[in-house]
């Protein structure tokens, strides 16, 4: 039933499309990104055997199909965008899709996700956890940064001990100091 109402709901959506498309730039890059992903698959599949002697298909065919379909879907998405397809951001528990994105908060949260790539191996989990904790809290407009350092460090150290005891390989407590 709801599938029905979804698909029949596209007609009024399309009618509105003109307004919102003029309000914001059309996300052409989205279709391009999907085509690019498809090309990565096709490139990776090019070096693989498409057929095998006994089985009819080799390791490459499935990858080729996935890549080809992704390119096709990317083109289909571009066509939809050209026709004025609207994209409504999803609602989440603490965020409404109608809200405009705050670039500073987004960049801070992104930094929190990137930090572990550089610090996890040399500095270990507790310090990495503390840094990411502070950055996420900051992205969510926490004003007590010093307290966040304390919370983050406590959480990092406590979970390191707990999960290491449970058998997880989380590396040293502070690898750079040889601990």
């Amino acid at each position: 039933m709801s599938g029905l109402s979804n698909s029949s709901g596209t007609a009024p959506q399309r009618a509105e499309a003109g307004d919102s498309a003029s309000a914001g730039p059309r996300p052409w890059w989205l279709g391009a990104a999907v085509i690019a992903l498809g090309c990565v698959c096709l490139y990776g599949a090019a070096g693989l055997a498409q057929g095998a002697r006994y089985a009819a298909i080799g390791p490459g065919l499935f990858v080729t199909i996935v890549g080809g379909v992704l390119v096709f879907l990317g083109v289909a998405l571009l066509v939809q965008i050209a026709r004025g397809e609207t994209f409504e951001a999803q609602d989440s528990e603490d965020a409404s899709g109608d809200e405009k994105a705050n670039p500073v908060a987004l960049a801070t949260a992104f930094a929190a996700a990137v930090v572990p790539i550089f610090t996890m191996a040399p500095l270990g989990l507790p310090i990495t956890a503390m840094l990411s904790f502070v950055l996420v809290a900051r992205a969510f407009q926490s004003r007590r940064m010093w307290l966040d350092f304390v919370y983050g460090a406590a959480l990092g150290i406590a979970s390191w001990f707990l999960f290491t005891k449970l058998g997880l390989q989380l590396g040293g407590l502070l690898p750079i100091a040889g601990l």
């Binding site: 039933m1 990858v63 949260a109 992104f110 989990l125 989380l170």
Partner: protein
């Protein structure tokens, strides 16, 4: 009646003190994450996966089942008290439940939700007890071509039903399929899409993708659109429990909700959204108190909540009998089975009856535990909402990185985390469904193996794929899923 004997043996397993403890732990954890925003059952089970190294499979699955059911109970609490549905399935509960809470009838709304969840969960578990072995029996005759056709049905239905656009649904699915082929090919040993990075030889772990999409993507998205100080918890005034009339108005919706939720939940891509919506619409049509709908009608809480819980039990049917996941949570449960070297499906019922029946028996026990945990203790759970959002989301990221770093200890996975996390952000902003990525990732390799086995058996003749009546029927169903929206739109004009 063989099922009944096996079930009794299952109770013998589930009632062992250690397993009871795991059921309790899972139920508590499940309720907590159901109440908390930003973290759902799929993410929680994914984060618990590494811990299973040191836990026996039966105990682990009993705990996971507690998380799955508990999240459904906890989700209704937030829907009713702060009008922010925790899981997609509790959206309908928020409509009437929150109005009831505003009218000072919060306790009655919570009670009908919890008791309805218990009734539905228990009936659905009974249905599971008797349906699962029968379906597993059927699955014994499945040939590789049948399995391949079945995965095709799962793929098309997931991509079509979830989300608002078929193109975007299929993009999500094929990104998942693409991530699934990364690594060394199990049949020939060839490296696929690894681009020479040793960390990718073993493939991309489902945990890494799931945690990145659900935790990192969600944190990026919520952070970018967060406004502090919006939530308002409605205090439960007094103890206005369910009146005699409330009971009278609730039991019908409970049963009808169960009847909708279980079968739809068992279908590929059925999920919990559709049955809860159907249940709400149905109760609205059937009720004698039409004017109360929209202002806090108890039927509008009782029906959808029952449907929600029954659907959660429903997803276990295709998962346990066919090894076919139909939701993000089912996908991560399948990954848990694979972690133990187990493959859900008909053979698991004969090779590991202790595990299967212990798990099913624990569902009965878990439901009872959850009823007790939720009814008198609802005030305790509500306090979880007092955790300030900045520290809550910061904590979720810390657990996410522990989950990912603990899987492999490779920096490559942390890079994948950022890349997939950014993808999760983009998918939320441009409304791509997320579950098809996970279904594609976990089911893609299976579909490929079945396809290649089937073709090898047929010496390369593609006609083998429609060689059995079942595979033909399944492929026709898949085609119908694909074409139905187009046909329906034509008809509507």
């Amino acid at each position: 009646m063989q099922s009944f004997e096996l079930l009794l043996q299952g109770f013998g397993v589930a009632l062992q003190p250690m397993n009871l403890l795991y059921a309790l732990l899972g139920s508590i954890l499940g309720t907590a994450i159901g109440v908390l925003p930003g973290i759902g059952p799929a993410l929680t089970i994914a984060l618990l996966l590494p811990v299973t190294i040191s836990v026996a499979p039966t105990s682990a699955f009993i705990m996971f089942a507690g998380v799955l059911y508990g999240a459904m109970y906890g989700g209704s609490t937030t829907s009713i008290l702060i009008n922010t549905p925790g899981e997609a399935g509790s959206m309908m509960t928020a409509l009437e439940g929150n109005k009831m809470a505003r009218n000072g009838r919060g306790a009655a709304a919570l009670a009908t939700a919890a008791i309805g969840s218990f009734v539905a969960g228990t009936i659905a578990t009974v249905l599971l007890t008797f349906a699962a072995p029968a379906i597993a029996e059927l699955a014994f005759v499945f040939k590789p071509s049948d399995y391949f056709a079945l995965t095709v049905v799962a793929f098309t239905s997931v991509a079509v039903v979830m989300g608002t656009s078929r193109v975007r649904g299929f993009i999500s699915l094929f990104i998942g399929l693409g991530l699934g082929v990364v690594g060394i090919d199990s049949m020939t040993g060839a490296q696929r899409l690894t681009f020479g990075v040793p960390g990718l030889y073993d493939g991309i772990d489902l945990t890494v993708v799931l945690v990145s999409l659900f935790a990192v993507g969600e944190i990026l998205y919520v952070a970018s659109r967060y406004k502090p100080g919006r939530d308002e918890v409605i205090p439960i005034k007094g103890f206005a429990f369910m009146t005699k009339q409330d009971w009278k108005r609730s039991w019908g919706p409970w049963l009808r909700g169960t009847a909708l939720g279980f079968p739809i939940g068992a279908l590929p891509a059925g999920g919990s959204e559709i049955p809860t919506m159907l249940s709400y619409t149905l109760e609205r049509k059937l009720t004698r108190y039409k004017d109360e709908f929209g202002k806090g009608a108890i039927e509008g809480v009782a029906g959808p909540e029952a449907a929600n819980n029954a659907a959660a039990a429903g997803i276990l049917v295709p998962l346990l009998t066919l090894g076919l996941p139909t939701s993000a949570t089912a996908a991560v449960l399948l990954a848990a089975f694979q972690n133990y070297g187990l493959q859900p499906g008909p053979f698991l019922f004969t090779s590991n009856p202790q595990l299967i029946w212990g798990l099913i028996a624990s569902l009965y026990i878990g439901n009872l535990m959850l009823l007790i945990l939720n009814l008198p203790l609802v005030g305790v759970w509500v306090r979880l909402l007092l955790i300030p959002r900045p520290q809550l989301y910061a904590g979720i990221l810390v657990f996410a990185m522990i989950g990912i770093w603990g899987v492999s200890g490779q920096v490559v996975d942390l890079i994948v985390m950022v890349a997939v996390g950014v993808m999760g952000y983009v998918m939320r902003v441009y409304d791509f469904p997320i579950a098809p990525v996970l279904i594609g990732l976990i089911l893609g390799p299976m579909a490929e193996i079945q396809l290649r086995t089937a073709l090898a058996a047929g010496q390369g003749n593609p006609m083998i794929l429609v060689g059995t009546p079942l595979s033909t029927v399944l492929l026709i169903i898949a085609a119908l899923f694909l074409l139905a929206p187009i046909v329906l739109r034509r008809l509507a004009k």
